[in-house]
């Protein structure tokens, strides 16, 4: 069966403000937010896009939803090329692919009641009016806000962060999409509330068979919600495998450092120095070769000359490193 989402050779470059010397030399430096990714997602998979700031995970998410156009490469959704989608076909895609935002406090129009906010996608998609009520109720029930009458007439500023994010999720689900991208969905919520949203998301997957991509910098969260983890670093994928595997048996040096760096809620935890080299300045991609080589404690000559390809080293578990 063809994967639901197939991205090949995906690249996205952003122009960077030029320094005067560069203007004189007619150079156009770019920031390579996404620098060549091949990502295949099967229907029903939950994939976590994990990485620190600047790794390109958010940009990848937006590319997958056609919110921005790739500089190079292609994306196919349900075996249709995303780049050439227009008109009714594009409209259909928008119904099938939805987004949950990072900031629940801003994701809803402050002048819309919750009812209007939930109804908006239905109106846009041209769903017949008779179906509206049912669909909205089902969506609200999925996010555990079943007492809709308590919420329909309220405005966003009257709800708490946790409730808002559930409404945002409900709005995304009201069209029964096939594909969901969630960008740091709980990072702006209080910790005691996060568990609730995460559980809702797990349930939604289980009951709807939704294909989902979770973008996060929080490893523990990704492990909890996603069956598969893709680790990104400076625009490239460095590791890709089942979440439990990636956490317990990380292959790539960056992943190893990441796993060790995450604090756990137990006093007895490793406090060993991280296997990663100094350089605290903002990581900028070195040209050519492996992007991680400046910080990698195991880098050797080949890492500078040749970019390591993603290779499968265990069933379903791939990594891009010359050491392996």
């Amino acid at each position: 069966m063809a994967p639901l989402v197939a991205a090949t050779g995906l690249e996205k470059h952003f122009p960077v403000t030029r320094r005067f010397s560069e203007v004189l030399r007619r150079e156009h430096p770019v920031s390579r937010a996404v620098d060549g990714i091949d990502l295949f997602i099967d229907e029903g998979e939950t994939v976590g896009l994990l990485g620190e700031s600047g790794c390109g995970k958010t940009t990848t998410g937006r590319l997958l939803l056609k919110l921005t156009a790739p500089t190079a490469g292609s994306i196919r959704f349900a075996d249709q090329d995303l780049g050439s989608l227009q008109g009714p076909a594009l409209k259909k895609f928008r119904q099938q692919a939805q987004l949950v935002f990072q900031n629940p406090f801003d994701a809803l129009n402050p002048r819309f009641t919750i009812f209007r906010a939930l109804r908006e996608p239905l109106l846009n998609a041209g769903i017949p009016k008779e179906e509206h009520d049912e669909r909205m109720r089902i969506a609200m029930r999925r996010v555990r806000l079943a007492d809709v009458d308590d919420y329909y007439d309220r405005y966003p500023h009257e709800l708490s962060g946790g409730q808002l994010q559930r409404v945002v999720l409900a709005r995304a689900l009201v069209l029964e999409p096939r594909f969901l991208v969630a960008d740091e969905p709980v990072s702006m919520l209080d910790v005691s509330v996060r568990a609730g949203i995460l559980n809702v998301m797990r349930d939604v997957h289980a009951t709807m068979g939704l294909t989902a991509v979770y973008i996060s910098h929080d490893f523990a969260l990704v492990r909890y919600v996603c069956a598969r983890t893709v680790v990104m670093y400076l625009g490239k994928m460095v590791e890709d495998g089942p979440s439990a595997e990636v956490v317990e048996r990380p292959l790539h040096p960056y992943t190893k450092a990441l796993v060790q760096a995450v604090p756990v809620p137990h006093v007895n935890q490793s406090r060993e120095p991280l296997p990663i080299k100094g350089s605290l300045s903002a990581a900028s991609a070195p040209v050519g070769g492996c992007r991680f080589r400046d910080r990698c404690p195991y880098a050797f000559a080949r890492c500078t000359d040749e970019e390591p390809p993603m290779r499968e080293l265990a069933p379903g578990h791939r990594a891009a490193c010359h050491l392996l």
């Binding site: 919110l67 996608p121 846009n124 945002v168």
Partner: protein, 303 residues
């Protein structure tokens, strides 16, 4: 299933709206200037609507004394509350009907400015690119045109009428509103809920008019309030300079007549002071209202 209750007070759409009105009144109470402004507007509005009932005479009618002579320059507080003009017209009635002209001009002009300015601001800010550039250049040109002389020129070409002021404002005064609306739109279009609207399939126009426009309307309202005062002032200036409408009476025309009849040197204060005060009151009221309502109309997100 546990219902996560929120500690917020208001429930229900209608109740929420009532609560918003309640908050509006609270703020009004706290800002006495805005309250004063609203009251002044209300008073003049009532006067303008009920002018026919409130005036004692026809403002253009020349009145005569019992002895058959023209009732010119009657002092105030006599048979005529504010006295009469040098041609025997009742000043009080003129003042009343002047309010009507003033408000008609003021509100129409404000509407014109707000409509044009908001539309331009919305379109320029949202679509950006060439449209934005073109519209902003037009705005720059309009901004460069001196308003009063422009209206004078208009009045010379067209029939003298208060609608010249309205048209003038609609053509030349909208840029400041447009600029502010545009920057508001520039901010709004980056907001998450706008992107959400895009993701859930809203068309460009829907996003612009259903999502963004309602969030800039409070600002339009603010500019509208200022525009009312501005329009009335301009109309008064035009009439004073002699370019105003000849058929209807306005505060400006009263001032012009008084000036031409040398009312100042003759000490006929009852003629020119009342219209002057009225003009000042309305302009100041506009300013206070616009300041006060800026706060009320912007909804606040939960802290």
């Amino acid at each position: 299933m546990p219902a996560t209750a929120s500690p917020a007070p208001a429930r229900g759409g209608r109740k929420a709206k009532l609560a918003a009105i309640g908050r509006a009144f609270d703020l009004v109470r706290r800002d006495p200037f805005a309250t004063a402004g609203i009251l002044i507007y209300l008073v003049f509005l009532i006067i303008a609507i009920f002018a026919d009932q409130l005036a004692t005479h026809d403002p253009n009618q020349i009145l005569y004394r019992p002895n058959g002579r023209v009732a010119s320059n009657n002092p105030p507080f006599g048979a005529h509350i504010l006295g009469t003009t040098n041609l025997g017209r009742d000043i009080y009635s003129q003042l009343i009907f002047g309010a009507r002209s003033a408000l008609i001009v003021g509100i129409s002009a404000a509407l014109a400015v707000v409509l044009v300015g908001t539309l331009v601001g919305l379109v320029a800010g949202f679509f950006r690119g060439f449209i934005d550039m073109a519209l902003m250049r037009v705005a720059d040109i309009a901004l460069g045109i001196p308003f009063l002389p422009f209206v004078i020129v208009l009045s010379s070409f067209l029939e003298p009428s208060m609608w010249n002021v309205v048209m003038g404002m609609g053509l030349v005064v909208w840029p400041s509103t447009a600029r502010v609306i545009r920057s508001q739109v520039l901010t709004l279009r980056e907001r998450t809920f706008v992107e959400a609207a895009r993701v859930t399939g809203s068309s460009q126009f829907r996003i612009l008019f259903v999502h963004i426009a309602p969030n800039v309307l409070p600002l339009s309202f603010v500019y509208g309030s200022i525009a009312i005062g501005w329009a009335i002032l301009t109309e008064a200036s035009i009439s004073f300079l002699g370019f105003g409408a000849t058929d209807s009476v306005s505060w400006g025309s009263m001032l012009q007549n008084a000036y031409v009849s040398q009312a100042l040197s003759r000490g006929w204060y009852h003629w020119f002071v009342p219209p002057g005060i009225c003009i000042i009151l309305v302009v100041v009221a506009g300013f206070f209202v616009s300041r006060g309502f800026e706060e009320v109309l912007f909804p606040r997100l939960r802290d």
